[in-house]
């Protein structure tokens, strides 16, 4: 049992030590500490997972009672079932690879120590998030990862743009988090507990499927999930969050944190099952997001932004899976996505690292022979992303599309949308590969990735390929999905569409059989691409709707409008003061005369009142 405590504790402690060393620690020690603690933690997870796979027992561990007020007594406690094991493995496993990679990537940075402190804090918070036995502790991890995301996106704080991106990431997700907090209040008020398992039991006994309250509660939780997982309408922060170091994007903004929303919905699936309306909304949000993000990815030219939009799009698939009730498929896609997206980000990071921090894909090219390891990684990663057959992405995405197809009524629509997304994924992922690695070289790499970078890439390549064959221990977690007899033509279509995307990408960006320039020559198309490039103008819309009014109000009120009230009182008394001042002329005779006048009046009153 103690090893369970060690899992989040090791990263937490190493983070604390790294912070308290205030940057005075030697690089080697700092990196050893940063990556080593995660490695140890991963080892513990591996041990735990093997024992779990052996006996399949759910492990619960209470450290202490957080607070206890009346009936409300959340604990600092862990609940570890198959889902948690899967998430923990992803976090520590991929986390360790990324940490290893970071040592080389960040070696020249003056704040290496701070970097590992934040990264380890992040891993600790993320582990708490997935291990939490109650929603309050989950919320702690939830906000903790948000903070670390903020810190790491704004890691290079000297550039104000990075600061702005970091703030945007934090504040936009905070909007979702606030909705989620309201959801927690609702659950606590109505069901009297926040412990996840009792909560689902209580919900099942107190609520009927389709009641208003579960719909409201899950809608609020969904708000949190949407914010954290960068889904519509709160997805705008993720592309900007690429301002952080690339390993950060790989760990936080691809593999782990952004999938926390998926985890949350999967974790509280019992509530969502009571609210079919919300579940349907989840599906539609997922579909809309995956399409919008895929179109946006098509038009980007910053290598990381392409990957960011593709992340949004892939999480859209996960939401689609959750929405159609295929929770296990959603989590499966989460895992495979973690593999291949981490791979892609790390490979992109290697490109950027070797190309003097160049981000624009049109200034790259021809890197196929110059950075062979990176090229191989990119191809494998893109294949998995596009869900080409026999890659990991293929198995998970296929499962989602089939689950969507099997749903009554809206199913085919969702399936068709998902299929369109798959086509677009094929196009944009291989557009990236073709432009960056083929054609003529525009920038020469000045170095080759070392073993600390290449090693994780190769390992992730392997995982991206074989990841589809891993059987996740989710059997006891979710209700068994009904197996529908699936039309084989549907399967063939979903195999064929990504290949079609690959073909189109080849024709457009490598073979040149379809001229992109000609396509773009129409003004309509140009405008459309600009529209996609700006991310469907969501940023401008929100700027107009929220940011500008907020700033305007703040600016308008800056000098305390309420003070006008008190200044009014002050002005009135000053006015009275000036009026009365003429009485105070300092002349003794005047005062005497006024006194006599008073006496006269007083006597007059007395005479009037006399009987």
């Amino acid at each position: 049992m103690n090893s369970i405590v060690l899992i989040p504790l090791l990263p937490l402690l190493s983070a604390a030590v790294l912070i308290l060393s205030t940057g005075k620690m030697p690089r080697t020690v700092a990196s050893l500490m940063g990556a080593g603690s995660i490695g140890l933690s991963a080892l513990c997870v591996a041990l735990l997972a093997s024992s779990f796979l052996a006996d399949g027992e759910i492990r619960e561990l209470t450290l202490w009672t957080w607070m206890s007020i009346g009936d409300f007594s959340p604990r600092i406690a862990f609940y570890i079932d198959g889902l948690t094991i899967v998430m923990m493995s992803v976090i520590t496993g991929i986390g360790f690879l990324i940490h290893l990679y970071s040592i080389e990537f960040m070696w020249d940075d003056e704040s290496l120590c701070r970097y590992f402190a934040y990264m380890n804090l992040f891993v600790a918070a993320m582990l708490l998030l997935v291990m939490a036995d109650n929603l309050l502790l989950l919320y702690l991890g939830w906000e903790g990862v948000g903070l670390c995301s903020y810190l790491l996106v704004g890691f290079w704080y000297r550039d104000p743009d990075n600061g702005a991106a970091a703030r945007k990431a934090f504040i936009v997700t905070r909007i979702g988090d606030t909705a989620m907090a309201l959801g927690l209040f609702l659950l606590l008020t109505e069901l009297g507990t926040l412990d996840i398992q009792p909560l689902m039991v209580a919900a099942n006994t107190q609520w009927q499927t389709g009641d208003t309250l579960p719909v409201l509660a899950t809608a609020l939780l969904l708000g949190g999930a949407v914010g954290k997982s960068a889904q519509l309408p709160l997805h705008t922060w993720l592309p900007d969050a690429m301002a952080g170091p690339t390993p950060v994007s790989a760990l936080i903004h691809a593999a782990t944190m952004v999938t926390a929303g998926v985890y949350l919905i999967a974790r509280t699936y019992g509530l969502f099952l009571l609210a079919p309306a919300t579940l349907e909304a989840v599906a539609w949000i997922g579909l809309a997001t995956l399409l919008i993000a895929a179109f946006a990815a098509l038009a980007q030219n910053d290598i990381k932004r392409i990957l960011a939009y593709s992340t949004i799009s892939q999480i859209g698939y996960m939401f689609l899976a959750l929405g159609v009730g295929a929770f296990a498929s959603g989590i499966f896609h989460l895992v495979t996505h973690a593999f291949f997206k981490a791979l892609l980000f790390l490979a992109a990071g290697a490109v950027i690292h070797c190309l003097h921090h160049e981000h624009n894909i049109f200034r790259m090219g021809g890197l196929r022979s110059r950075l062979p390891v990176v090229f191989a990684s990119f191809v494998i990663g893109s294949a998995a992303l596009a869900a080409l057959p026999f890659t990991s992405g293929f198995y998970s995405k296929d499962a989602i599309l089939l689950a969507a197809w099997s749903l009554q009524d809206i199913g085919p629509w969702l399936w068709a949308g998902g299929l369109l997304g798959a086509l677009l994924t094929g196009i944009y992922s291989f557009r990236l590969v073709f432009i960056v690695f083929f054609g003529e070289a525009r920038t020469e790499p000045d170095r080759q990735p070392g073993w600390k970078m290449a090693g994780p890439l190769i390992l992730l390549c392997v995982l991206s390929i074989v990841g589809g064959w891993i059987a996740l221990p989710l059997a006891g977690v979710f209700p068994a999905a009904e197996s529908h007899p699936v039309n084989h033509s549907v399967e063939w279509i979903s195999i064929g569409v990504p290949l079609l995307g690959l073909l189109l990408a080849y024709l457009m960006f490598l073979g040149g059989q379809i001229s992109v320039d000609k396509l773009l020559s129409a003004p309509m198309a140009r405008r459309l691409v600009d529209f996609w490039f700006s991310g469907w103008r969501f940023d401008q819309l929100y700027d107009l709707l929220w940011v500008k009014p907020y700033k305007a109000i703040a600016h308008w009120w800056r000098n305390e409008p309420v003070d006008a009230l008190y200044n009014g009182i002050v002005a009135a008394s000053q006015w009275g003061h000036r009026r009365l001042l003429i009485l105070q002329n300092g002349e003794l005779r005047w005062y005497a005369t006024i006194m006599v006048l008073g006496l006269v009046l007083l006597l007059a009153v007395m005479l009037r009142n006399a009987p």
Binding site: N585, A592, V596
Partner: protein
Amino acid sequence: MDGLMVPMEHVLVVAGLLFTCGLFGLMLRRNIIFMLMSLEVMLNSAALAFVTAGAHWAQADGQVMFMLILTVAAAEVAVGLGLVLQIQRRFKTLDMDRANRLRG
């Protein structure tokens, strides 16, 4: 001594007239010496009223009050005349309209 049979209100009217005169002087004169004199007249008129009342009720209190008024008048004149000297020194005048440093 034999009694004096004057209607009390006559005495009080005299006192009132004296008081009014004093008040009138106070308001009229700008010279502080005259103002102090007016004050003396007013105090004196009050004393007269007290003594009259004492005589009317055949009580000693009236005369006691007179003595207290006397002390007040003495103290007042002592301080007041001291002030007169200071005012003359500072303002080079006895005009109270010009000694208006308390103006707001």
